[in-house]
């Protein structure tokens, strides 16, 4: 089980801020493929990975990163702080 968090328009498209996901995905990309296949709203949120960023346990990561040992995955658009 892994905590999956969504922010900004990713959260709005999927319709919830976080959920617990039962997955055996090896990498972030595998997890994305699983989520995409669930429902249209997930497919819409994950349509273009170039417009998404991912953090693993609150550290920025790549979509090819392994999920072993990770407790929290977050998906969000490019950040606009400052």
């Amino acid at each position: 089980m892994i905590d999956v968090l969504y922010f900004a328009w990713v959260r709005e498209r999927i319709g919830l801020p976080r959920e617990r996901v039962d997955t055996s995905a090896a990498t972030v990309a595998d997890l994305v493929a699983e989520l995409r296949s669930r429902e249209d709203r997930y497919a819409a949120a994950f349509a273009d990975l170039r417009s998404l960023r991912v953090a693993l346990d609150q550290q920025l990561a790549d979509f090819s990163a392994p999920l072993a040992g990770v407790r929290e995955v977050a998906f969000f658009p490019p950040m606009t702080g400052g």
């Binding site: 977050a74 969000f76 658009p77 490019p78 606009t80 702080g81």
Partner: protein
């Protein structure tokens, strides 16, 4: 004391934060302070809403601040960033740096701004007469990081 980071919904007082910043260290010759304000380009902005990632936000800013602190040998460094709803003209965030020389104080403040812009987990939404829009990151913001 030397490095302070605050992530908060509440307003802050830029003048009060600037007053006395960097004072006390005899080796401090230069202080640079930056204030970001909600801009209303269209004249149609009702408010801005800033979403963030509690937990990661503090960690990301602390890492950026610590890098600046070491790299420019800063005597003092402050970052304040707000989240939640903000009206046009309200203060969004500030950074302040105190260093021996002006070049270090300026570079450190610009480095902090460039990294906070693209590497701290904040997202801005503008709510206007025509509805709500997420502010998009720009290529310039990403390119700004290559300077460092």
């Amino acid at each position: 004391m030397a490095v302070r980071v605050r992530v908060q919904a509440e307003p802050f007082d830029y003048g009060a934060e600037c007053a006395g910043f960097g004072a006390g260290g005899r080796g401090v010759g230069a202080v640079v302070t930056f204030l970001g304000i909600v801009r209303d380009d269209s004249g149609q902005l009702a408010r801005m809403e800033i979403e963030h990632y509690p937990g990661m936000t503090e960690k990301a800013i602390a890492a950026i601040a610590e890098e600046a602190h070491v790299r420019w040998s800063l005597a003092e460094l402050l970052v304040i960033h707000r989240y939640g709803p903000l009206a046009p003209g309200e203060a969004i965030m500030m950074v302040a740096t105190a260093a021996r020389h002006r070049v270090a104080a300026f570079e450190a403040a610009e480095f902090l701004m460039d990294y906070l812009k693209s590497r701290a987990p904040f997202w801005k939404k503008e709510i206007g007469a025509d509805g709500a829009t997420w502010v998009a990151a720009t290529e310039e913001d990403e390119e700004a990081l290559t300077r460092w």
